[in-house]
């Protein structure tokens, strides 16, 4: 290594933990934004997936990686390096190998060798020791990085000077083919896509650019750019001199309110500059030709297919970039990229039923930058191919494989035109997560294990059904189903009492007279219904006496840590929903977080918490009363988290 050269520092925005799990030997592509972030900054890491059928080969399938990453990354972000994870025998060779692979991938992605600095790294999965090689410019020479900085506030670095642009472009492309000779259809399709891409820069194309609606009193700012404006700005940006910009060249920052409050990107409400592509029908005003009707007979009968494409892209840009440059250098190339990704997905099915491709944008937990996934909505989300696609994405983004995080309902919501999206999303008005602000359990030195995720609180008298005295288990079941629904495992509606009874009759557990009755159900019936409606399996724990319940605390704690689902407590007496346990293993002291379905009041959080309808219950309280009865048996129903994404 040339000691005389300055040794650069690599800055990492992604947490170290995300780079190390799983610790099995693997490769991570490092993503940064050489144009808008400081050099050698890594914003995210994407896992390189093992190469398809040929899993034995250790070298990645670069073509496949490039194809998938092209669709995934938003324009403005690029692959800036690679990291080898594993037990490293030789740091230098592994890091150099990673660097070479990163360069090769980068070249496939953009069609040219990177002109910016690239990093190659190596991390020891055991010790967590991490080192980088850095190559500048042509990449022939690589120097060891002087150090690694883990950024504390990745959101601030990314979004203080950065912003998102979004462009939705629905296309309906007419594809003609000769009816008796379908062989030429592919070539025609490719040429149709190509001509569409090139038309995006026609002089008669206009771009409507609108800022997000930030606050109620601030109207959003909008600008129209014309095809000709793009060229002039592109030339200017390479000039690097800020003074050259004329007054009419607006930078992206102009579209946002002076003070941006929300610097972290959340799924509920993302701010983006909206770009709409329009065609100016009045372009070239001076030349008007008389309308002419022309007819062109086809030499032989032809067929027409309409190719429906819904393009939807995000771009990441510095707020200082002139918006015309952002359109020209990010948005249009981004649209071309997505069009080509879709082209590949469609071409094999041109003559059959077309896929209905829909792009969605996500910022899954652990990631600070948005990614785009293109789903085929033809057969719904549950379809096998779509599940497989999501599984792969989970792997690549290092997300858990038993939590749906990339479902359509997880996608980023953009605030457009002041429409209140919140209201329409939460169609249900029921209270959620009522345990959030309850007083502590009073177990000293205990470890709390709680459910993972949101649920809705169902209790007596909801939906105008008078189930006082018999419906508590039904209500507990409804709360459990709501958890599955809110966690995106299912899209079914929470079943009513009658629907629950119908299921039990359908599966032969009950006679048809059961429907409409006021008969109780228990843990076993709940497990049947969960299996039938959600395909969810359950574990059941039996105790002969309420006294034995504290003994089950360890098992319940494990349940909440690994499964995180609400538990139903049934048995000889009343049914409850259990949301967590607080357990001191040494002293044996414990408390149960109970959500009580017997509440008959209004959905008033204060009343519910103060009345103890949701709260910690010790098996024996300070007055010596037992919560669980000694002379009654109890069945605990532990629904299992589905192993799906």
């Amino acid at each position: 290594m040339a000691g005389s050269r300055r040794h650069p520092t690599v800055r990492l925005l992604c947490p170290k933990k995300s780079l190390l799990s799983p610790p099995s030997p693997s490769l991570r592509w490092l993503v940064g934004s050489p144009r808008f972030l400081p050099p050698l900054t890594v914003a995210a890491a994407l896992r390189c997936l093992p190469g398809g059928a040929d899993a034995s080969s250790s070298s990645p399938d670069l073509q496949r990686e490039a194809d998938e990453i092209r669709g995934l990354l938003v324009r403005g972000f690029d692959v800036v390096g690679a990291l080898h994870v594993g037990r490293s025998a030789e740091f230098g060779a592994d890091a150099r190998g990673a660097l070479e692979l990163a360069r090769a991938l980068r070249e496939r992605l953009s069609g040219e060798r990177a002109s910016h600095g690239m990093v190659g790294g190596c991390v020891d999965a055991g010790t967590g020791e991490i080192q980088f090689l850095v190559s500048e410019g042509d990449g022939l020479e690589a120097v060891e990085a002087a150090g690694v900085v883990w950024e504390d506030e990745p959101g601030r670095l990314l979004w203080e000077k950065g912003c998102l642009l979004r462009c939705e472009l629905p296309l309906k492309l007419p594809l003609y083919a000769s009816s008796d000779d379908m062989s030429g259809i592919e070539a025609r399709f490719f040429s149709l896509i190509e001509s569409t891409v090139s038309k995006l820069r026609d002089p008669h194309v206009s771009y409507l650019i609108e800022g997000p609606l930030a606050t109620r009193d601030e109207s959003h700012y909008s600008v129209i750019l014309h095809g000709n404006d793009l060229d002039s700005v592109s030339n200017l940006t390479h000039n690097e001199s800020a003074e050259v910009y004329s007054a009419n060249i607006v930078s992206c920052s102009k579209f946002f309110p002076a003070k941006r409050f929300n610097l972290s990107l959340t799924g509920e409400n993302a701010d983006a500059i909206q770009i709409t592509i329009l065609s100016n029908q009045s372009f070239n005003n001076s030349k008007a030709n008389i309308p002419v009707v022309e007819y062109f007979p086809a030499p032989a009968l032809a067929s027409l297919r309409l190719i429906n494409l819904k393009l939807d892209i995000l771009c990441y840009s510095s707020v200082d970039l002139p918006v015309a440059a952002a359109v020209s250098e990010l948005v249009i190339p981004g649209l071309a990229d997505q069009l080509n990704v879709m082209k590949k997905a469609i071409v094999s099915e041109l003559t059959t039923q077309q896929p209905q491709l829909c792009p969605y944008h996500f910022v899954p937990p652990g990631l600070f930058i948005p990614v785009t996934a293109i789903y085929d909505t033809r057969y719904g989300e549950i379809e096998e191919k779509q599940s497989e696609l999501r599984r792969n994405l989970h792997l690549r983004l290092q997300l858990p494989l038993d939590r749906p995080l990339l479902r359509i309902s997880n996608a980023l919501k953009f605030s457009i035109g002041g429409t209140d999206k919140k209201a329409s999303r939460n169609s249900s008005s029921l209270l959620r997560d009522v345990h959030r602000e309850i007083p502590s359990s009073g177990v000293s030195g205990g470890i709390m294990s709680l459910i993972d995720g949101s649920y809705e609180y169902y209790h007596y008298l909801h939906d105008g059904i008078d189930d006082n005295g018999w419906g508590c288990a039904y209500r507990s079941l409804q709360t459990i189903v709501s958890w599955y629904k809110l966690q995106q495992y299912s899209s079914i509606n929470v079943p009513s009492h009658r629907e629950i009874q119908q299921v039990l009759v359908e599966i032969g557990d009950k006679d048809s007279s059961f429907i409409g009755s006021r008969e109780w159900i228990g843990a076993i019936e709940l497990s049947f219904v969960l299996d039938k409606l959600l395909g969810a399996s359950c574990k059941i724990i039996n105790v002969r006496s309420g006294d034995e319940l504290p003994e089950k605390c360890r098992e319940l704690a494990i349940h909440f840590e690994t499964q995180g689902t609400p538990v139903m407590i049934g048995g000889g007496v009343l049914a409850y929903t259990l949301l967590g346990v607080d357990y001191n293993e040494t002293s044996g002291d414990c408390a149960f977080l109970i959500l009580d379905p017997h509440y008959t009041g209004s959905d008033d959080l204060k009343k519910i918490v103060n009345g103890g309808w949701c709260g910690w219950k010790k098996s024996v309280d300070s007055k010596g009363c037992s919560f669980f009865l000694k002379d009654k048996f109890y069945n605990l129903l532990l629904p299992q988290r589905p192993n799906m994404v």
Binding site: V205, N280, F296, P297, L306
Partner: protein
Amino acid sequence: MGMGVKAVVGDEAQLKALENTLSSSAPPAQVGLVVGKLSPSSDRALAYSLIPTPPTDAGDPPCSLQPKPKPKPKPADSTSSLDFDVDWVAEHARQVSRMLLGGMSVIGIYIWASEASFKATSPAVLSQVVRAVSQVVPLYDSAVDERLLIHISYSPRRSACRICDMSSGSLRPCDFKYSKLLASLQTFRCTYNFEIRVPVVQAEPFKKVVSKAISNLTKEVQNAKALIDGILFSDAMDNTLEGPHNVEFLVPFKNNLPAEECSLEGVSGLLLFAGSVSALAYLGPKESVSEAISDLKLDIITSLRSRLDIILDEADGESTTDNLENSLSQKAAQVVFHELRAPYSFPFPRRILIPWLAGSYVCDYLQQSETTEDAMERCREVMSLEADMGNYSIVEPESASCTTLGSFWDVVPGALSKAPSEPGRKEIQSAENGLRRTHGSSFSILAALVALLIALLVGYIFTFSAILKT
């Protein structure tokens, strides 16, 4: 909305001038059209000009005093009621409406008659005339279906306006006042370039396919965003801008196929309907800019519809075989695209703008062999326009058209082009024939001849004397 017209404002200069002319020439009765604006967003109707309906082909006046019924002799002469040639007035309305630009329509009729004979005429007869006019010139996007009936009485001399409700046929009086309108009109103009492709599957006649193309275009135009002098139009835009405005229309990129269009088998050819429309719309004082935008959009579509009507009218008309223009239109109208084996091209008539009142224009359409003289002649007859145009001259915004060269596979979108450029274009030979068309519709020829007769009968009527002078 749903409010009816409450007040009518007439252009002072125009209406007063016509009243003066009428009282000096003093015909016993006259009927004509009210050109103006009924805006859906306002309860105020604007009457820009009154245009007398010329005599019929046979030389009869379209409005006359009914001969007194013999069995019931009555002493007073003045009680004879009015009699109308309803079809003729309606035909006049159709022709006038074709010549009006955006923001102006035929919004009713006026009647010059004595108070007594007006009163002697049954309201049913009056509303029948108004209804006949409204049926040939339907007003688009108007929630209220009402028209005006202006009565200019000569004894005693005064003007009054009634509102005629088209659904009930009832007449109700309303406020009528004069103001300066035409001189304060704002002009909005644009060129709209379009390219509509319609795949032809079945044996479909010319009219059907071209109408389909126009209705496809209608959807595109109606949803277009507008730039006014380069600024994106929004509802917040105020109406205090000065001068004529240039409007540009923006439509979604490459998404202009109609929604119902789906995949098709057995496509026998492609109809390409392409070109430009030079459109114009006028905005009255105190009206909103959004009104002007929708009128401009409407002008684009009505201009194309009118041109198609002209082609079809000519083909329908009892044509003389030696008239080449007619036979060309006839041929076009009879084309069944499905059966064609060679590329086919037919240019639409060309729009020209003819100076009208107070710096405003009306329009006409020229077939290939016609000249602006033909248009001027039609204008004189239909609009009773004088030859003197002052400082203004005829504007010819649409130029000789180009036609596409190539075959079906060259013109379908995303054609595998051998050359990277667009398909070649060549100028159409506009003077394909040496024949001159002598007249437009049957309406206009006879009108010219009959004008003389009327003039002699009724004395010197200012409007028709203009024709004699030429």
